[in-house]
Amino acid sequence: MAEVLPSLDFEGWSCPVPLRDSPTVVMGHGGGGRMSAELVEHLFVPAFGNQADAGTSDCAVFELGGARLAFSTDTFVVRPLFFPGGSIGHLAVNGTVNDLAMSGAVPSHLSCGFILEEGTDLSLIGRIAQDMGAAAGAAGVAVVTGDTKVVDAGHGDQVYVNTAGVGLVPAGVDIRPQRAAVGDVVIVSGAIGVHGIAIMSVREGLEFGTQIRTDSAALHPLVAAMLAATLDLHVLRDPTRGGLATSLNEIASTAGVGVRLVEKAIPVPAEVGNACGLLGLDPMYVANEGKLVAFVSRADADAVLAAMRAHPLGAEAAIIGECVDEHAGMVVARTAFGGTRVVDTPLGEQLPRIC
């Protein structure tokens, strides 16, 4: 059993079990799957005073001086730093912008913090900063404050970026995972698996040639178009780490509903499917950076879908499933053959396999 820091009260944790089996941080804790969720739920949330909703959304929404503000943060440690179609700079801006957009907010101001490793080429940092500026401009947000720290060579893997952002949430908008309801229709804004495959194509040990470029994009204009069709969007989520499967499981679990998918309705580009086939990956668990999944009432589904398809970011939007009152908290898919497959939350990172 590993050392326990003297200042921590082991008995005070709400559930020590998930931590017992891994007394140190492991890669799975950052994978976006079950281990990440448990780390937040059992280590961080209790420490911060147990805010009831904390950890269920990527973004916090609260009243401040009469305005409804959305506030979110995200840290970017992607490797490699530069990949087909983009860089950590694009992700750093679009990632936080999208977290805000998923609560219906109009993102306006961003902060950024850099942790730079001593010895890193300044031109590399410059490129990243340029990419951030370009992404911010395209998204219509301003990076208004920041911070830079330098760590010793050997600590810090060249650059880590954190961004935080704020935006105002329009009146009448209440978008959060708890609102998923039985009967809701599940819509995805476009083809899945693109970003993760773009990254994997340049990862050491796995490299392959492909035309796939990251789909990193700021989604709030698409959300605005959807809100114009109806203010009553129930849930929005951008399925980043852990992919579509993870996001749907989180929503199903938070709302206490079952999600039933039709697999052949889920758009997957042929090349993504083939890359996944080569490595033994499932596209449903592969990260996306410019896609969202929406839960809307059955009555609003057609209007929302039409609004999405009319927008460049939602041209391939598709209805992929519905919420049901069976298998609450679980996601089940009907396969192309009519069989049933449970789509579980991954435990950690999805890894290529040979078997």
Partner: protein, 377 residues
């Protein structure tokens, strides 16, 4: 895409399923040997589409599940060394050794890298001449030629800092061990298609003869699996037993002679322990004397390994089809995918992990252990 899409056609799948349904008159237990086949069955929901009388028993065809505990522990010991870059297929990273796995070693500072091909590990060795680079060479006969070629290249090109930790297993001795067990329930086998692409089909007729079991060489796409099951059901219903090749496009009867020639040079047959099953004589391969200097077990004196298998884990019995996962007392309680006791719960196509997912879907198991899945779509 060619050779894939056509074998994923749902309309053709229905015809195969209809034929199976029209043919079957009583219960049969068929074992698919290969983990990749298990994966395809679960992934596509095939086990629910075939008639209830046809029971698929998920066999020990997953190297993740059967790599001996002792070897996992040796891998962990080697990977923990600061001078080593340890390369592995992704499959092995979460397999529990006696209390730890490769992810934990990584968190403790081990340099562990996932690779797609053993040649990637050799490349890493050439790029890092001052480090020892070890590749975890596991797998069945399908993976053996790639691993053998990599060692052969290491010798030919002179890459002294490269070595391989070898744990290869062979299918025919496993089939033999399963059929010899007094509690064996298996009545027919789907042989592993890609294993036969390498080894050919010659090893199977003697097994068919000896045990009077139909063996059908089967592929991996949904139509291939259904066709393998269909042909097997026909044999069982007809009371015949012969070797049939349902994967001809990728399996000539002689297999791949060039690959086997290299295997004969680089590897030699050895007794091998199968996790949960025990030692099966002549069921594995290790590096031959000629290539011993690339054998990581020799290079790194990893003695003093005390292995400790969970006393509750019954994955061996599950692997051989003697019990169903839910018949194990630890299933779903002490042993879950989150905290697996044995490899069948770790592996995504391990029988225990598969059953766990469907168990959560609800419904009591039917007498043969099949889950009643609530009607969906």
């Amino acid at each position: 895409m060619k050779y894939l899409d056509e074998f994923n056609d749902p309309a053709l799948a229905k015809r195969l399923i209809d034929d199976i349904s029209a043919t079957v008159t009583r219960p049969w237990a068929i074992m698919e040997v290969c983990g990749g086949q298990t994966h395809s069955i679960i992934r596509n929901g095939i086990d629910q589409l075939i008639p209830d009388e046809v029971e698929m028993i998920h066999g020990p065809g997953c190297p993740v599940c059967v790599t001996p505990l002792e070897l996992i522990d040796k891998a962990l010991a080697i990977a923990a060394r600061p001078d080593v870059i340890f390369c592995s297929f992704g499959d092995m990273l979460r397999v529990p050794g006696s209390g730890r796995d490769l992810f934990r070693i990584k968190s403790e500072g081990g340099d562990i890298r996932v690779v797609y091909s053993p040649l990637d590990a050799l490349k890493i060795a050439r790029e890092n001449p001052d480090r020892e680079v070890v590749f975890f060479g596991i797998g069945f006969e399908t993976t053996a030629p790639p691993n053998a070629m990599t060692v052969y290249q290491a010798a030919r090109l002179g890459v002294p800092n490269f070595s391989m930790l070898v744990s290869h297993v062979r299918v025919p001795p496993a089939i033999e061990a399963i059929m010899q067990s007094p509690t064996c329930r298996v009545q027919a086998f789907l042989a592993a298609g890609h294993v036969c692409s390498v080894m050919g089909t010659a090893e199977y007729p003697p097994l068919v003869e000896r045990f009077s079991v139909p063996i059908v060489v089967t592929g991996f796409e949904p139509l291939d699996i259904l066709e393998g099951i269909r042909r097997t059901v026909h044999q069982l219903e007809d009371g015949t037993a012969f070797l049939d090749n349902a994967y001809q496009r990728a399996v000539p009867s002689q297999g791949n002679p060039a690959a086997r020639q290299l295997l004969a040079d680089v590897f030699e047959v050895t007794d091998r322990g199968w996790r949960g099953i025990g030692v099966i004589p002549d069921s594995g391969w290790r590096l031959s004397a000629k290539y011993r200097q690339f054998d990581a077990e020799h290079r790194f004196q990893v003695g003093d390994i005390s292995t400790e298998e969970s006393s509750v884990c019954r994955s061996g019995e599950v692997l051989q089809g003697f019990i169903k996962p839910h018949e194990c007392s630890a299933f779903g309680t002490l042993c879950t995918p989150r905290n697996p006791l044995g490899a069948t719960m770790v592996s995504s196509e391990g029988a225990c992990a598969a059953y766990y997912l469907y168990r959560r879907l609800g419904g009591a198991p039917t007498p043969d252990g099949r889950q009643v899945v609530s009607s969906i779509g």
